[in-house]
């Protein structure tokens, strides 16, 4: 698609306008760039190919907060010739912790040790092989939901029994080692081939998870060579264009990547670092259309 002329306007596909989406809109407006806000909830897409389709060569910043809406609308729009940021491949890999783990470990990017299992019985055996304490995570999910710390077999049995009564996705078991680290993780924002800003995210009171959605606080994280190299390598593995890379400072292994976010939130990173992330995303996206 790079050889063809793309649109000189930008589109933002959203299902809810939060701080991030509004900031992207304002950044585009400030630059005099024509910006179309597309509400995914009002959108219907003719999936039958026409050449050109209404989406051919359009640059669309995918900002749907709902994973399933996001990935399916990306598939449709990309299939009709749009350049969606991020691509379906990136969204598919980043949106699934097991898929992401496999890509990272194949590429030699350090990531927490993990095991997977596909039944109640094998799940218990899987955690034992990893060792306690361990962390159970849904393969698809965010904001720390349904992530639990398993300290022993009794706790594991209770949590797994609950999962057995949920949607089948939750019976694809994914366990990670509990990484020894300071009570914080790192969110780094990558735009193109640059790490533009990073923050430390500290756990909230009485909480071991570091998700900002769970009440943690944030501070600026310096951009070291190690951090930049790790983030860029992880981003390239996923073919990411605009992503948020989450890392932990493992006492044993140094920086390890535990998640790459393809529709990254950046409100806290802007607030803490002062970096104009929405402006940089708009500049990067607009250039893709030229």
């Amino acid at each position: 698609m790079t050889e063809e002329k793309r649109s000189s306007s930008l589109s933002i596909l959203f299902d809810s306008i939060r701080w991030e989406e509004k900031a992207l809109y304002e950044a585009a407006k400030k630059r005099g760039i024509k910006i179309n806000n597309i509400d995914c909830k009002s959108l219907f897409i003719d999936l039958n190919g026409r050449d050109p389709s209404p989406y051919t060569n359009k640059v669309i910043i995918q900002r749907c907060v709902g994973y399933f809406k996001s990935i399916h609308s990306t598939a449709a729009l990309e299939g009709l010739g749009a350049h969606v940021i991020n691509s379906l491949r990136t969204a598919t890999l980043c949106g699934n912790k097991l898929f992401a783990h496999m890509e990272l470990q194949k590429a030699g990017v350090k990531t927490p040790k993990a095991v997977s299992a596909f039944s109640q019985e094998s799940a218990i055996a899987a955690i034992s092989s990893l060792g306690y304490p361990a962390v159970i995570k849904p393969t698809i999910g965010s904001w720390g939901r349904l992530i639990a710390l398993l300290r022993d077999e009794d706790a594991s049995k209770a949590v797994i029994e609950d999962r057995e009564h949920m949607f089948p996705l939750y019976q694809v078991y994914y366990f990670e080692e509990l990484v020894s680290r300071p009570p914080r993780d790192i969110r780094a924002i990558v735009i193109g081939d640059r790490v533009v800003a990073a923050i430390y995210r500290y756990s909230g009171p009485g909480e071991w998870k570091t998700n900002m959605a769970l009440g943690g606080h944030a501070e600026t994280c310096p951009l070291t060579n190690e951090l930049e190299d790790t983030c860029l390598k992880a981003t390239r593995v996923m073919d990411g264009q605009v992503v948020g890379v989450d890392l932990m400072e493992s006492e044993e292994h140094g920086l390890i990547v535990h998640e790459i976010n393809n529709t990254t939130e950046f409100k806290n990173t802007v607030r803490v670092t002062g970096v104009d992330i929405p402006g940089l995303i708009v500049d990067f996206s607009y250039k893709l259309g030229k």
Binding site: N37, D39, V65, Y67, R145
Partner: protein, 55 residues
């Protein structure tokens, strides 16, 4: 200005608001999505979290 359907308080809608933007009632905390009507904006209850939401 719109009225919160939960507590009847007035919710200020800034002039630069966008259709689809989330506004929150400062009195009761209820969240609403802005929708376009002939005379400006109206509100409907917003989905504030979905099972597959996040990043």
């Amino acid at each position: 200005m719109v009225k919160c359907t939960e507590c009847d308080a007035e919710i200020k809608v800034p002039s630069d608001s966008l259709v689809g933007e989330i506004v929150t009632c400062s009195d009761c905390g209820a969240s609403y999505e802005l929708i376009k009507v002939e005379e400006g904006f109206s509100i409907k209850p917003a989905q504030v979290v979905g099972e597959d939401w996040g990043q």
